[in-house]
């Protein structure tokens, strides 16, 4: 496939103004699906565990005669989210059918909301790395249902093209979604990619603060479609936009927006025109590729869903939910910074890595703020970076706090703790399980250490004399030998103590 011509980013921004728009789908963590009483796989810890086509009822399969019934908790979550986005809540909102044929869509229509969404006209405050605040206008947030999952079989890549056939699992069909749609975002200029990342990060923070979604991008709990168009600087008329689908990490949002700006600029600069189309983000290549062109065939024939009735939340319900909202993220940031006693730089370090919620939850689970920050922005971020993914969601905050506690108690050294972190991320179990199965506990049994010291001293008999002569640093050679023999699972400080005791006896 020929590579896209790309314009230098700074040069592109000199000539063109990017206009952004985002559609973020949030899977709600209700007990059951949007319209059926099947268990909601987006709520469990492992959506795949039960096997394909296990979390389904006749409604999710779209069997003839089956009918949808709205999940009240999903409505409450949607209203809370609307309020947290600063939206107005519709006095009356209703569901509509969006008609199109696709094998993952059991009824061949999606129940969504169209002209009467539950929430509309909001605004989200987004903070960039240097502390700059950008206000992103929200057009609407509406309720809908997710589709099933396709597996493409045959062909080289498991992708849709070249596959021999496909298999459909409807477990995800009917999972409750809220789709958040921004208005066009103007004036971001060279910070457009950063704004994209920060906006999606802010949505994730809001949703997790509300506790209404697991919001793990790598699991598809939170999915972002990024719309990008360019217009010549100073021009009034909007350019043709592309919609890059399912960008599944924060750093991918930033990269995808940057890529589209450079790609579109190169086309426009060469006198070409942008095709209105969906595009796919390829994490591996760091590129987007053309998807489905928008065409006349995109006629969804929306009409009011006759099987469902309007949702008309009472003023009392809205006020009840408003009163229960957690602090707004901006307020929360100010409070956390003070509570944790971080410097500006330390705090921004956490926030910009999208780790506020992780650190907060780790602290809530018992870790000292400085320790929580150290592990998340240090070792866990390093592993995430090596794996080109986001650190958030890699490991649970509770597990991190358990590891911190083990270090504090002397059960683990820092070095061992790093191994435990990696093993937990690799799915080997909880920290305690990893320590047991890998045998990583610090050897705190003095007799084992003493035996090792004796053995080392037998090899280097002159060391004790040197120590007694005041050359305490000579102990280092023995410590090294002991640590080697204990395969690193000894507390170096204790070994040193024991050697010094021996020298004095």
């Amino acid at each position: 496939m020929p590579r896209d011509a790309l314009m230098d980013f700074d040069a592109a921004l000199e000539k063109y103004e990017p206009v952004l728009g985002f559609e973020v789908h949030v899977e709600l963590s209700t007990a059951t699906k949007m319209f059926s009483d099947a268990p909601n796989p987006a709520t469990g810890d492992d959506a795949e565990a039960a096997g394909p086509n296990t979390a389904i009822t006749p409604v999710d399969l779209g069997l003839p005669g089956s009918l949808p019934v709205v999940n009240e908790t999903a409505v409450r979550y949607s209203i809370s989210l609307g309020l947290a986005l600063g939206c107005r809540i519709a006095e009356s909102s209703r569901f509509a059918r969006k008609n199109y044929f696709y094998p993952d869509l059991a009824k061949n229509y999606q129940i969504s909301q169209y002209d009467e969404p539950i929430a509309f006209e909001g605004e989200v405050e987004v903070e960039l790395e240097d502390g700059t605040v950008v206000r992103v206008p929200i057009e609407r947030a509406h309720m809908e249902e997710d589709a099933g999952k396709l597996t493409h079989v045959g062909g080289a890549t498991g992708r849709i093209h070249g596959a021999e056939y496909s298999l459909v699992d409807y477990n995800r069909a009917g999972v409750p979604l809220v789709e958040i749609v921004t208005k066009p975002i103007y004036g971001t200029a060279e910070r457009a990619p950063e704004v994209g990342r920060a906006y999606v990060g802010a949505i994730r923070e809001i949703v997790r603060g509300l506790g209404i979604s697991q919001a793990r991008m790598e699991r598809g709990n939170l999915r972002c479609d990024a719309n990008v168009s360019l217009r010549p600087r100073g021009a009034e008329k909007l350019g043709t936009r592309t919609e890059t689908k399912n960008v599944n990490s924060l750093r991918s949002v930033e990269r995808a927006v940057r890529y589209e700006i450079r790609r579109q600029a190169a086309i426009l600069d060469g006198g070409g025109t942008i095709t209105q189309e969906t595009r796919h983000w390829h994490e591996d290549r760091g590129e987007t590729s053309a998807g489905r062109p928008k065409s006349d065939a995109d006629d969804y024939r929306y009409f009011p869903e006759p099987d469902l009735l309007p949702v008309e939340p009472s003023a009392e319900l809205i006020e009840e939910l408003r009163a229960a909202l957690p602090e707004a993220p901006a307020v929360r940031r100010r409070r956390l910074k003070a509570d944790w006693g971080f410097t500006d730089e330390e705090f921004r370090d956490v926030a910009n890595s999208g780790l506020l919620v992780e650190v907060a939850e780790t602290v809530a689970a018992g870790a000292a703020p400085a320790q929580a920050r150290k592990w998340w922005t240090g070792e866990i971020a390093r592993i995430a970076n090596a794996r080109t993914t986001d650190p958030a969601g890699l490991i649970s905050p509770v597990h991190v706090s358990e590891i911190v506690a083990m270090v504090e108690n002397g059960e683990l050294t820092d070095r061992l703790a790093r191994q435990v972190v990696e093993a937990v991320i690799d799915g080997e179990g909880s920290p305690a399980e990893v320590v047991t199965t890998r045998g990583l506990q610090v050897v705190s049994d003095d007799s084992a250490l003493t035996a090792a010291i004796d053995a080392a001293l037998a090899e280097q008999p002159d060391v004790l004399a040197k120590i007694r002569d005041g050359k305490v640093q000579a102990a280092g050679a023995i410590i090294g030998a002991v640590m080697k023999q204990m395969r690193g699972q000894a507390d170096a400080a204790r070994v040193r103590e024991l050697i010094l005791e021996r020298a004095q006896s």
Partner: protein
């Protein structure tokens, strides 16, 4: 006169995923033209001041408690499927992209 043409019928058949034969398209063009002409009279009385009714009996806020119920077993779910493999529904290759 109605605006139903064979091309329009072909387009509609595409949206409705029905592989109509050319003969059916010809016949339907005539029949739909007649039907559309006769039903178009709804616009005579459907003035801007009349609200639309989508449900015959007005109800609102009909909800379900968020409590799981019984599910179909994969065997029951797949029992009626034309083709299945590894507990999934099997379909031939997909041409178009997701929506």
């Amino acid at each position: 006169m109605s605006e139903i043409t064979p091309d329009l019928v072909r387009h509609l058949a595409g949206l409705a995923r029905i592989a109509l034969s050319d003969a059916e398209i010809q016949r339907l063009t005539g029949e739909l033209g007649q039907i559309v002409d006769s039903v178009a009279k709804v616009s005579e009385v459907a003035t801007a001041d009349v609200p639309a009714t989508s449900h015959p009996i007005p109800l609102t806020n009909v909800f379900r408690d968020d409590v799981p119920g019984p599910t179909l077993s994969p065997a029951a779910a797949l029992a009626g499927a034309p083709e299945a493999e590894s507990d999934r529904f099997k379909v031939s290759a997909i041409l178009g992209e997701e929506q």
